[in-house]
Amino acid sequence: MTRASMARKYEPRKAPAKKIATSAMIASLAAEGYDTVSAPFGEALVQAARKDDRIVGLSADLSKYTDLHIFAQAMPDRFYQMGMAEQLLMSAAAGMAREGFIPIATTYAVFASRRAYDFIAMAIAEENLPVKIVCALPGLTTGYGPSHQATEDLAIFRGLPNMVLIDPCDACDVAGMVPEMLAHDGPVYARLLRGKVPTVLTRHKPDYKFQLGRAQMIREGRDVLVVSSGIMTMRALDAAERLAADNVDVAVLHVPTIKPLDVSTIVAAAREGGRLVVTAENHTVNGGLGEAVARELMLAGVHVPFRMIGLPDEFLEAGALPTLHDMYGLSVARVADQIKSWL
């Protein structure tokens, strides 16, 4: 009980169309109108592991919630249940990497970035060991409140030398990032979408394929350039279709690798045609993609109108995810409205 809880009142929202409850943590991310793939990470990992016996999987009591259970079932002797001990998870992964293995360590993004940070920094990153940290519930993808909402994970890890950071958009990205992060000889932090994951990018760009370190133009447009990562690319693409009806032509540049950033592609796109540049990220506006892009544009001397879509510098509310995405500006409608208001 704090003063904030004493001040809080229950006031039902005005006329909800239908009752929506906080979804269970294992719920998949909703994206209307898209096909879904089940557990793309687990399936891709099993495929890769069949070809490379250095790959081992470790989890801190969250294998089912990170789709690592698919790997555990397929290759039980290569799966290590480390228990509810994230510091141990990261240290032990470092130890296995020292012995020549490629460990995949999974947990929730909050626990990796907050609880186990020093272990990732010193035992893994400082020695540039090939540990792949794959974490569910990135940004605002659960309504459980700040204990499970990793709204600042990328800001935390961007400061860490040697780390490669991936923020995938959909099932294509999640499946595509697996072989690429395994091939990278160093530590990787990847945000994970799990469960039934929508297939988005190939519908908008049929030949799309995830490439580590590469930003890719998914949709061309004359008026606005959205530079986005993760699920916000999905939101941006849907918002672009809505805005097209209002004769606003929106380009969407998808940046699934946050570090190293594909600076030349981003700068070249921003230079083109005097468009409004909008960054969109499922992350606090502090220290994520938006600020990284702003820096690069400043350094490159690109002076364009610039706006950021992202989560506010706050501990977020609990509730149903669609409500929260609407509240904090991540829903398709809010993305479209914000862009329109800036034109």
Binding site: M82, G83, A85, L88, S91, R98, D118, M122, A123
Partner: protein, 284 residues
């Protein structure tokens, strides 16, 4: 894994002489810098002598030899002591002794894997070594390697929660190839460890978690040899710990009697005096 003495050069040198050499080299390095964790180095010298000249299997000319026993220094600030034993073992050239702690040296004040041959991990952020050792022990088992992982930690690290995560995990995975050495000198940065979190009954605590726990005088070479032998020979599928009660500054009486602290102050003229005292106590 054999339990015979390490078949290195100068095989016939006594472990007491090895420990004496380690102390001497550490004092010489301390003199170079005018500072250093000399109290810890003098205290841990006997454990390192028994580790490197009785227990561990390694090749001095090939520190990365796949078959070696791994020796993890969780306590990065003990680096001065590890450099001394690595020189004594012929892994580091003795000519570099005078570079200790200097710019461009391979021997920084806190031990780091990327600087020094023979330094397996980057320690220093306390409470990490044992967890890394658990992972390495798991990895060695996957490779069906007979090598052991030794993790040298301090009593202060018993206060880190991550240590106990690793303690539980070692039992969970039945890591009979993991040997943890705890240098219990009862001294951490703010004072006695027993006044902080290492309140006592350390061996029973580890035993209660399921470890094969021994508690010995960490400055008694005979007792250490027996404990290392027992730890390696045990057939039970469980990890092993040796709690080594040690005396800071061991072997230099005027420093031993100094008011204990984590970072011992040694005046400029006292390094020579300490070396003289050490010389007087040289083993036969």
């Amino acid at each position: 894994m054999s339990v015979e003495a390490h078949p290195g050069p100068l095989q016939n040198m006594s472990l007491a002489m090895r420990a004496w050499n380690i102390r001497r080299k550490a004092l010489l390095m301390g003199e170079v810098q005018g500072q250093g964790y000399i109290g810890q180095a003098l205290g841990v010298a006997d454990m390192l002598a028994v580790s490197y000249f009785h227990a561990l299997d390694y090749r001095a000319d090939d520190p990365e030899w796949e078959g070696r026993d791994r020796f993890y220094l969780s306590i990065g600030h003990y680096a001065i002591a590890l450099y001394a034993v690595l020189m004594e073992a012929g892994i580091l050239p003795e000519e570099e002794l005078e570079t200790y702690g200097m710019d461009d040296s391979r021997m920084p004040m806190s031990g780091m894997a990327s600087y020094t041959p023979g330094m397996e991990i980057t320690g220093g952020s306390l409470g990490q070594g044992l967890g890394i050792a658990v992972g390495a022990a798991l990895g060695l088992k996957r490779k069906k390697s007979p090598a052991f992982v030794y993790n040298l930690m301090s009593d202060g690290e018993l206060g880190e929660g991550s240590t106990w995560e690793a303690v539980m995990s070692g039992v969970q995975w039945q890591l009979d190839n993991l040997i943890c050495i705890v240098d219990f000198n009862n001294q951490q940065a703010d004072g006695p460890s027993r006044n902080a979190l290492a309140v006592g009954a350390e061996a029973p605590k580890w035993a209660a978690f399921g470890w094969y726990a021994q508690e010995v005088d960490g400055n008694d070479i005979k007792a250490l040899v027996a404990a290392f032998d027992a730890a390696r020979a045990l057939k039970d599928p469980r990890p092993r710990v040796i709690i080594c009660n040690s005396t800071m500054c061991k072997g230099i009486d005027f420093l031993e009697q100094r008011e204990m602290s984590h970072f011992i102050r040694v005046e400029a003229d006292e390094w020579t005096k300490a070396l003289t005292v050490l010389e007087e106590g040289k083993p036969e």
